[in-house]
Symmetry: C2
Subunit: 136 residues, 2 copies
Amino acid sequence: VSAEAEVLAANAAFYAAFGRGDRAAMHDLWAQRATVSCIHPGWPPVHGRDKVMSTWDGILDQPPRPAVRPVREVAHVIGATGIVVCYEAIGNVILAATNIFVREDGGWRMMHHQAGITERAPKDVVESGAPTGVVH
Amino acid sequence: VSAEAEVLAANAAFYAAFGRGDRAAMHDLWAQRATVSCIHPGWPPVHGRDKVMSTWDGILDQPPRPAVRPVREVAHVIGATGIVVCYEAIGNVILAATNIFVREDGGWRMMHHQAGITERAPKDVVESGAPTGVVH
């Protein structure tokens, strides 16, 4: 398995935990030792594991939970750093995201996430999103 | 000079080139060999040096050019990868950004940039922006 494939699997696990509203999995997949940060859409940057996990707890607790899917993921690995750029289809909203992973204890953990609304996503990306209001 | 300080200097050079509308400097500071990508605010992700530089040429050519300033930059270096998370004060608009740099030929070059509008920036960050419509 290539390092890029490993990083894409870590990226998929992030969106799966997001889609399930799985707080425990979300906590596990963020780095423990690297200094983490996160920029949610329209939010100021949040720095530090405690604050970042607190934002995710709040987001994952909010019903209804739309389907979440990464689309057109592109991964690059440089040493112990993995970078994924992708679309996010969240319900019928399309965002563009940067996800940065680091190797910790033999696995790839998330150290940074930024997502922002994209207004001009290609048609096939928009169609990959779920219908409005799907809860699963 | 620490690696973090070098990466912060590369980040400052990026915003200086942006603010000056300096196409040559902007081309020089992006990586030549690493596969680059860019997510402008509200845009789909753009992949590949030629396409990314073409977007910057378009942006830098647009008058009027507001003041551009990075604020509250936080840098982390992992091996040959440098990550900066910061606010961007562009005129009186505040954005949040992720900038990723890689070491190439002994210097730090940008390999990825994402910026998005931030609606809830702290007061001191908002006040660090220039008054509306400043051209320099």
